[in-house]
């Protein structure tokens, strides 16, 4: 069975470590905050200028001046700090964020990522995504393995305009956890009940399959 959105978030959360500063993109990545393991603390960085993002406010707490990078109203946790966009991206570009999780349309075996623009469709802009992928050492891309029409999103070469070149090493799809190394996808784990054959058949780029590919356990 393909992973649910929640299972993707749970699996990503296993990459967290106590004391990590983490930037979570919009969509599934945001859900990761719900699955921080017991006894572990992480601090969420929001690129509009907030380190220590808390949960959504109650009706009474809502404040137009307190939002996250998704423009949602939020709160702060104890020990938070608030700063300018320049300072926020100094943190990001300078490699100070321990883990970045974000979505994508495509990744390829060179570690390229395309996530912000589909030519001919609406052009909305890259926001902070280009800075995030260029600045972080430790990035997990979350995405569906293939489109609804079965077209692979794990490619030899991205077909869409890139968000970043050569910066992705870890991809979690609804079917598998994959690392990118020396120009190939390495199949590290598979979703429960999903066969290696299915994953390989839905992967257009070169994939290396180790002898044993463990099933994820939830």
């Amino acid at each position: 069975m393909a992973l649910t959105r929640e299972q993707i978030a749970i699996r990503v959360a296993r990459e967290l470590q106590d004391g990590f500063y983490v930037n979570l993109g919009i969509g599934i990545p945001t859900l990761v905050a719900n699955y921080v393991p017991e006894g572990m603390e992480v601090m969420l960085q929001s690129e509009n200028g907030l380190l220590g993002m808390g949960q959504f406010p109650t009706e009474d707490e809502i404040d137009a001046d307190m939002i996250n990078a998704g423009k949602q109203t939020v709160t702060t946790v104890t020990g938070a700090s608030i700063f300018s966009s320049a300072e926020s991206f100094a943190m990001i570009r300078g490699g100070h964020v321990d883990l970045t999780v974000l979505g994508a349309f495509e990744v390829d075996t060179s570690g390229n990522i395309a996530s912000y623009m589909i030519p001919g469709k609406l052009i909305k802009g890259m926001g902070g995504a280009m800075d995030l992928v260029a600045g972080a050492d430790n990035i997990i891309v979350t995405m569906t393995h293939a489109s609804k029409h079965g077209e692979s999103k794990l490619l030899t070469k991205c077909s869409l305009p890139l968000t970043g070149a050569g910066c992705i090493k870890k991809v979690l799809t609804d079917l598998a956890y994959i690392e990118i190394e020396d120009g190939a996808f390495i199949l590290k784990e598979r979703a429960p009940g999903v066969s290696v054959e299915e994953i390989v058949s839905k992967t257009e780029g070169k994939m290396i399959v180790p002898d044993h590919v463990p099933e994820m356990v939830f």
Binding site: N48, D65, T73, S85, S88, F89, L122, M126, A134, T163
Partner: protein
């Protein structure tokens, strides 16, 4: 009051001197911390062919979006412009130019503009459409692209409190792009919720020192919320 008093008493005075074809740098992220009344004043003035540098372009009918209604904007320099139907319509009709700029690069371009740094290298955008036509250089084994700084004829900024000398503090995440915008305008105009006497703000907590501020005005703000999310 001395020559350091930056207070003006009308929005007409605040934006006096704005002319067709000028570049305006605006603070704000989404609808948070935007200089709503200064934007409204630009709409009222009807100034045309403006280049607007701002992370976003507001929404239909609010924030910078209102400047699209009478086609006052020639070009937007932004990182994300997805919240605005009129924007897309004018863009696709070729009536509006847009220069998409990564958010961190945009923030740094404004800061550099204010700080006398004409250009800097960044890894952001290397190998992407953003790099087209830009110098590439290797530092310690990694490729970076050269990005030039931005300055504006005007900068329009939303603060929380300021003293009359133009020392400004921002509230929560309404800070965002405002401090950098404030440094990068030939004329920097700041609107705030409250003006206090010099000495009331702690010198160590001032986000924008008065040296960057030319005009200061107190306004009232709608502060529209873009994504109202609550927990129960």
């Amino acid at each position: 009051m001395s020559g350091f008093n930056k207070v003006v008493n009308s929005y007409d005075e605040a934006m006096a001197g704005l002319e067709d074809g000028m570049t305006v740098i605006a603070g704000g992220f989404g609808l948070c911390g935007i200089p709503e009344n200064l934007i409204a004043q630009v709409k009222k003035m009807g100034t045309k062919d403006l280049t607007i540098v701002s992370n976003n372009c507001g929404v239909d009918g609010f924030g910078l979006g209102v400047l699209l209604e009478d086609r006052q904007v020639k070009k937007m320099v932004s990182s994300y412009v997805g919240e605005n139907a009129l924007f897309m319509q004018q863009l696709l009709a070729g009536e509006l130019e847009v220069e998409l700029t990564p958010q961190g690069t945009l923030a740094e371009k404004m800061r550099a503009g204010g700080a006398g740094i004409p250009a800097f290298y960044t890894a952001t955008g290397y190998g992407t459409p953003v790099a087209e036509g830009k110098d590439v250089r290797d530092f310690k084994g990694r490729n970076y692209i050269l990005e030039e700084s931005i300055t504006g004829d005007f900068a329009i900024v939303k603060g929380w409190k300021a003293d009359k000398f133009g020392n400004v503090i921002y509230r929560h995440t309404a800070q965002n792009f405002n401090p950098m915008a404030a440094t990068a305008g030939k004329i920097t105009v700041v609107e705030v919720e409250e003006i206090v006497e010099p000495g009331e703000l702690d010198p160590a907590h001032i986000h924008t020192p008065g040296i960057y501020v030319d005009r200061l005005i107190v306004g009232t703000f709608e502060k529209r919320i873009e994504q109202r999310t609550v927990r129960t």
